[in-house]
Amino acid sequence: MMMNGKERIRKAFKVQAVDRIPWIPFVGVHGAFLAGYKADEYLQSADFLVNGINKAVEAYQPDGIPVCFDLQIEAEALGCQLAWSPDNPPAVISHPLAGGKSLDILPKFEKSSGRIPLVIEATKRTRAAHPDIAIYGLITGPFTLALHLLGTDIFMMMFENPDYTNELLAYTVEISRQMAGWYLEAGCDVIAVVDPMTSQIGPDHFEQFIHEPISSLYKYIRENGGLSSFFVCGHAQQNIEVMCKTGPDNVSIDENIPLDYVRDICKRYGISFGGNLQLTLVLLMGTAEDCQKHALECIDTAGETGFILAPGCDLPMTTPVENIQAITTLVHDPYQRDVVRALEKTAEEMPILDLAEYGRTEKVIVDIITLDSESCAPCQYMVEAVREVTPHFEGLVEWREHSIKNLDGVTFMSSLFVKNIPTICIDGKISFVSQIPPKQELIRAVQKRINEKLKLKIREKHGKIVLAGTREELKEIYDKAKIAILELGAHIEIETISGEEARRLYGISQTPAWINVRNRIKSEGTEPSIEVMREWIKALL
């Protein structure tokens, strides 16, 4: 049975079977990009956040979505100064506890502090607008919040003043607990405890300082009906095991940690895991094909159960929309996954087809690029649709199936620039993508091509003879050529040009000269690839 996003996430968190891999694009300031705002204005307006989330849900059809990916909300409410940026989340630039000041100087942390009211409002509105997807409330993890408040002194305090460090972490985890409570009340399904700075410490320090506070946080989230996820980014490989021991429902990591490493440890602890799509080199700077290939690698490594496909952290603001959509397609369409796999297998150098052949054949060729019409239902229906209409054209139309499980199919796919499976190409031109065309529409499209081809043939027949030379030189040749044309019953035009023109146009050095000129239309209305152009040029050599 088809699950909705929320059910899918819940099942995956519980390491239970799902109908397909759940997918969560971590849209943070990328939502600002989608909705046309700057990052700083986006993160300070409930309306803008909601607009960005709505755009992301529409564009990416996710199973879950975070409300606000900003790890500075609690720090700001506790008196840290922020430096705002138009294309990034803000950065903390002052640490109120620097040097180890007393925690008493911090302001009271309340639901009305800082930007908390606006993120809670955005959460409620997102919950109401998207009842079927999992809503993630992101809170700053206790260690990262401690670092915001104290600065990097915390690293040395762990050695020099462990009591103060413990006191501070007991305080910050209480802040995390309050935030988690408010997010759950507002309708979040999942509380993601984002604690990237734990990647900077070793497992001993983790167990000494972090284990207890964060374990109590996960217990609290569970008791209040929420699911919990431990987000860490950076080189945190050393801590995955101790993270699992704190008892979250899920561990989410970035590209710095191998997914199989996390998979093995999480499986041992019966915990689900998520990640770890590469943010920069693939999602931001790669192509849609790169993204699909990489997402498939993640899925294949992770396995089907207890895994959530997600970027390693929040998406860079200007990540190309088509890259993320390509992953959505891959997740939603099992055939697309087979396509990417098939292409992967045969990615070595492929021969390039000469598309001009389509113009030369008498018949109209309908190519159906499929995964395999025996195993892929949409492919089968598309092949049947074509098979059904071809008899209407009484031998003028020929159809061929190209399964991309074979090299031939992949060659066709790449030569014809086909991106989706199944696709119908009529005489080399992409005509129907993924959707099975209604019979009449298919007939119309084929008929249109027959008409075009007919016109082309007529135009090609209009070859001409060019005679070059002086009037004197050409007099006799011209007359003889006319007689020859008449005798053959052909309709061929004779054009005469001067020796000068002949030199310029055809490189003729001596006259009289006879030049056969024939229209060889190689392509019309499309831009062939450079490989195809090279083939055409070779034919002239």
Binding site: F155, M158, G202, T280, L284
Partner: protein
């Protein structure tokens, strides 16, 4: 204590982050002399400043840098070692000022424009300084112009660019291009969480290392 023993203990104090006698950490060295006292003691005993530097402080920092690279220690341990190194280094400052000892060279470091994160950059600075190099730290949010001005002031210095954010990787690229346009011979090292060697080769920087010790190896290798 023999000279050798003093230097060995100094290196251990740096590596383990034993700053001075009063420092409570590490517990097993409580009430013993730290890097501060041992460096002073070494100079008082007539060990030359360059030997104190190379066989005491640099040896200790190299050891911690290698452990950091091998994921055997983490940021807190490196910061403690750096704190101990700084305490020892204070006793060598007059010798640097008089010219009795010199740095191996200079590295100008900064987090690139638009990026305000400095933990990685600071760590690199500490470890490279601990390897005997002079560090000129331009701070965070640093433009190409500032790096170029730094080069004017310290001719022949290497440049180290750091970034944490994916968006500022693009600024890193611009800065490398601008520096190379003005100073084609400048050697630029890059680092930071999102940076890779592929990215380095794409933007035309000279060296990438995922850890500070790799930068030390590169810089030391450039000297020979």
């Amino acid at each position: 204590m023999t000279h050798e023993e003093i230097l060995k203990m100094l290196a251990i104090c740096v590596e383990r982050g034993k700053v001075n006698k009063n420092a409570p950490f590490p517990p097993d060295l409580r009430d013993q002399d730290g890097a501060d006292e041992l460096a002073k003691h070494a100079i008082d005993q007539g060990i030359t400043a360059d030997v104190v530097l190379s066989e005491g402080l640099v040896t200790g920092m190299t050891a911690i840098g290698i452990k950091f690279r091998e994921n055997r220690v983490f940021v807190p341990e490196v910061l403690m070692a750096a704190k101990a190194m700084t305490a020892g280094m204070a006793h060598l400052r007059p010798f640097f000022q008089s010219g009795a000892i010199t740095h191996k060279g200079a590295l100008i470091i900064g987090t690139v424009m638009g990026d305000l994160h400095d933990i990685g950059k600071n760590l690199l600075g500490m470890i490279v300084e601990g390897a005997g190099w002079e560090i000129i730290d331009l701070g965070i949010d640093v433009s190409a112009d500032k790096f170029l001005a730094g080069l004017e002031e310290h001719p022949g210095a290497y440049i180290g660019l750091s970034c944490l954010l994916t968006t500022t990787m693009l600024n890193m690229e611009k800065i490398v291009i601008d520096i190379k346009a003005s100073k084609p011979d400048a050697k630029i090292l890059i680092g930071g969480a999102p940076v890779t060697d592929d990215f380095r080769s794409k933007i035309g920087a000279d060296w990438y290392s995922p850890d500070p010790q790799g930068a030390v190896d590169y810089l030391n290798g450039q000297q020979t």
